[in-house]
Symmetry: C2
Subunit: 420 residues, 2 copies
Amino acid sequence: MSECDIRRMAEEARRAARELARASVAEKNRALLAMAAGLTGAHARILAANAEDVAAARAAGNTSAFVDRLTLTEPRIEAMARGVRQVADLPDPVGAITDMWRRPNGLEVGRMRVPLGVIGIIYESRPNVTADAAALCLKSGNAVLLRGGSEALATNRAIALVLSAAVEAAGLPPASLAVVPSAERAVVKEMLSLHGLIDLIIPRGGEGLIRAVREGSQIPVIAHDKGLCHTYVDESADLGMAAEIAYNAKVDRPGVCNAMETLLVHVGVAAAFLPPFVARLTAAEVEVRGCPSTRALAPAVLPATEADWDTEYLALTLSIRVVASFEEAVAHIARHGSGLAEAIVTSDHGRAMRFLREVDAGAVFVNASTRFTDGYEFGMGAEMGISTQKLHARGPMGLTELTCEKFIVLGGGQVRDSRK
Amino acid sequence: MSECDIRRMAEEARRAARELARASVAEKNRALLAMAAGLTGAHARILAANAEDVAAARAAGNTSAFVDRLTLTEPRIEAMARGVRQVADLPDPVGAITDMWRRPNGLEVGRMRVPLGVIGIIYESRPNVTADAAALCLKSGNAVLLRGGSEALATNRAIALVLSAAVEAAGLPPASLAVVPSAERAVVKEMLSLHGLIDLIIPRGGEGLIRAVREGSQIPVIAHDKGLCHTYVDESADLGMAAEIAYNAKVDRPGVCNAMETLLVHVGVAAAFLPPFVARLTAAEVEVRGCPSTRALAPAVLPATEADWDTEYLALTLSIRVVASFEEAVAHIARHGSGLAEAIVTSDHGRAMRFLREVDAGAVFVNASTRFTDGYEFGMGAEMGISTQKLHARGPMGLTELTCEKFIVLGGGQVRDSRK
């Protein structure tokens, strides 16, 4: 594929986006239900394409975990179809007028929510992203260019053909979604230069992918860097509650971004809290590393190095630090946190409120597990990843985060006299 | 200045930003009033520094318009002080909880408005930007690094020293604002790489500056590309109103981004509207270029080339095109508009509503002049430029656009069971 083709794809997506922006919620939902039905009706075709990718991945000597992530089955395809139907059930954010005010000269100024336009998604491995992202973009009135990993190219193309045909059958432009049919890096490079044709790039994958996209893009990027989440057990915490929350944050699913990596414990409760809690972690096969004060209270704990405070383990490993004060906990989080999610366990209202205001992260929790950092758990009904940056979307991204607001102004012939 | 110094400045700004984020509105307003008083008290010092810059600019052979933009006077310094005091009067967006909802498991999930952190502003010429931007950033709880043009370096440093001392005297960190004391391009390059230390870059200046910043930045950028605004006179327009609005949009202040560059006229009213309107433009010394239909109705009009439809004249020049339908007007705008501001003049409610929904621009007007595209005119009380992009801030940017929303979650010990 030449560089010129990705530009042509983006231009087609742009034209489709203009039609999509005008589509009614009924039209978009009809297309989504057709997409879901299309997936259900195309099991055989999708599985055949997937078998090619899986065979190639095996032949290339990839790990079985890698091959498993890549492999589709009938239930996995049905889960994709179910996900698409769920998006049809969500409220449509497009067209909402969120505010309207009257100016002294009689102008009515307001804001209207509209699609972003064309979204580019650059992702790795899991083919379910193809259907998920296509559904969320369509519902929010955006066209989407999907550039998945080369190892899933046949699968992603088969899924996109099914979805695109369903969109067309439902009366919306088939170019509303397209998989970039190339594994060449030069195509991604060209894609990232199409400022003016693509409005937003969302990279989903490992640190290397995100860094490369951020450094190479002239288009705004929303990305998820990493999740280094803390739980701070305050002096005033209910220690039973603290143990449940901290245990859950570490053990429930240690390999995900909203799991806890570092536990901070106020010195006033460290002696009561840490020995039984460390024993419980150890019984759950968690490797615990700690500061000298932690080790004095729980001698089985390994020594933590400076690097531990900056490490996203994504595993059954936890670092623990005893802090002398609330302020020290907040300062530790400011220095080492990744801005994804942070939690305090406290029964002191003032400290709860201070933690909410002073800790700078996408999601700040009082007396709950950071594991809830998730679009579905927050009640947004969907999730297009979690943003760890501050511009436009912070924390879990739902449909609304795939739109923007423009100003609308209603007048009765007003003109401006700049000499006044 | 070595590259390392700009990193140190950004680190200091980051520490200041953490303090600023916690500052009360009373503390911030006290600092703003001190900044205004500081400017008033330092006329002599600022004018002396400015005289150096002006002498150097004259010696370098710059145009008198350039030297005029650079030159400060006592009234200009007082206007800066007045602007800072006006920012003190604006409502503080920080800390507002904009929404809060309850989940089935009892978690209360909401959003809280917080500062972005550290903002970098890269701008040209006019030294008043230094005080304006410093005031807006401080009020919204952000630290700011200001990198003005080399020709205004002495002036900008003098202003920043005054402002920074006032901030310190009012009890807030002096590193809340700083002028980058270097004219080297390498410093800008290093500044644009400080992802994680600087949260947002706002370039203000010509196309070359904006492009260089966008291409070189690993930090999110909000920019103003250009303003190519249309006014569309619909078949159903009140032609008297249309003439007033279109004349104002072109003639009131032709050198600014929200002035009209192209007039679109429905064929059904072209014969009645265009001859007297072109005569009025000609009397006001506007050079008019038009499509063949326009020239058939007003023979004095010069022929427009394809390039005219894409040209931001920023001068007393206007291109006019007769369109066969509402749809043709909307399509012309989609193809040639820059996404800043677009207007329709119509008395047909359905077309007014369709124009509002279908035209994709930061501000869409019905029966009013595009010249109103401005933070003050929209009632936002301030303006940090106009964004022509869609992410985060679209159209005029006020204080709210210098903040973001984080999620806050209040629990009573909830944990998540991912096996469910």
